[in-house]
C-alpha cells in the first residue's frame, strides 16, 4: 500500500468531529481531547493496514482513541477539569436549550460518574453506537455495556434529582469562576 485510499481518508475526516466530542467527554478538557485525536489520527495512519475495509471505521478509530486515553489515564490520572477547557466551556451557544444552568448541572453530574460508565453512556447515548459496537470499542461483553449504561443513567438521574432540589450544587463555584473569567 503506497497511498491512502481517498475514500478512506474522507471517512477518517468525517469521523473527526465525533472523535473530538468523545475525547472531550472522556478527558474533560478540549486541549487534551485534541491531543488525543491527533495521536489517534497518527496511529490510524501508521496502522491503516490493520484496518479491514468494509468493517466499521468509526468504531476502529474510537477504539484507538479509547485505548490511548486509557493508557494515558493510568499515567496521569484525570485532572480536575478546568473551566477553560471543560465541556461546558466548549458550548458555543445553546439558544434552544432550557438554561445554561441546566447544562452545568448536567456536566457536573456527568463528571461524577466512573469513567467506564461515562464512556458507555456517551458511546450509546450520544455517539449513536449500538451496544454491540460499544462493547467492541470497550473490549468487554455486551451485557457489561448495558449494565454500565443503566447504572450511569440511574446515577445521573439521582444526581440531577438532588441538584434539582438543592438548586445550587457545586456549580456555584463553577459559575463564579466563569463569571470572573
Amino acid at each position: 500500500m503506497t497511498n491512502l485510499d481517498p475514500a478512506l481518508r474522507d471517512e477518517i475526516i468525517a469521523a473527526i468531529p465525533n472523535l473530538r466530542a468523545f475525547a472531550i467527554s472522556l478527558s474533560g478538557s478540549v486541549d487534551r481531547a485534541d491531543d488525543l485525536v491527533q495521536e489517534t489520527l497518527l496511529r490510524a495512519f501508521a496502522n491503516i493496514g490493520s484496518f479491514r475495509p468494509g468493517t466499521n471505521l468509526p468504531a476502529w478509530l474510537f477504539t484507538i482513541l479509547r485505548n490511548l486515553f486509557r493508557s494515558e489515564y493510568r499515567k496521569r490520572r484525570r485532572e480536575v477539569p478546568d473551566s477553560d477547557g471543560n465541556f461546558a466551556a466548549t458550548l458555543t451557544s445553546n439558544p434552544d436549550q432550557n438554561t445554561h444552568l441546566d447544562f452545568e448541572d448536567f456536566r457536573t453530574a456527568l463528571d461524577k460518574l466512573p469513567s467506564d460508565q461515562r464512556e458507555a453512556l456517551i458511546l450509546v447515548g450520544a455517539s449513536g453506537f449500538s451496544y454491540e459496537e460499544a462493547a467492541d470499542i470497550c473490549q468487554c461483553a455486551v451485557g457489561t455495556i448495558k449494565s454500565r449504561v443503566n447504572r450511569a443513567r440511574r446515577r445521573l438521574g439521582e444526581l440531577l434529582a438532588i441538584e434539582d432540589v438543592e438548586d445550587f450544587g457545586p456549580d456555584k463555584t463553577t459559575r463564579a469562576v466563569l463569571a470572573a473569567g
Binding site: P17, R43, T92, Q97, A126, S147, L160
Partner: protein, 83 residues
Amino acid sequence: MSGKKTMNDEQSGGGTASADTLMNTHLPNSHDSGLGSEIQAKIGQHLRAMYDDVVRQGVPDRFMDLLAQLDAKGPKSSESGDK
C-alpha cells in the same frame, strides 16, 4: 425545573431492577429503570446536545494540516517524526 421528582428514585426498585432491565433497555424509554422518565429524557437530551455542540464545530484546521502532512509523507515512512 420542578422539584417534585425527588422521591421517586430511592423507593422504586431497591436496586434489583437492573437484572431484568439489563436485557431490553433502550435509552429513550427509561421508565423501567425506576427513575422518572422525565428526568431520563432530559439526560438523553443534554447528553446529545453537549455532544452535538462539539460535533457541529467541525474539523479544526490543525487536523486538516496534520492530514496534509501525513499525505505528503506517505504511510510508509516513519509515522511520528514530525517537528
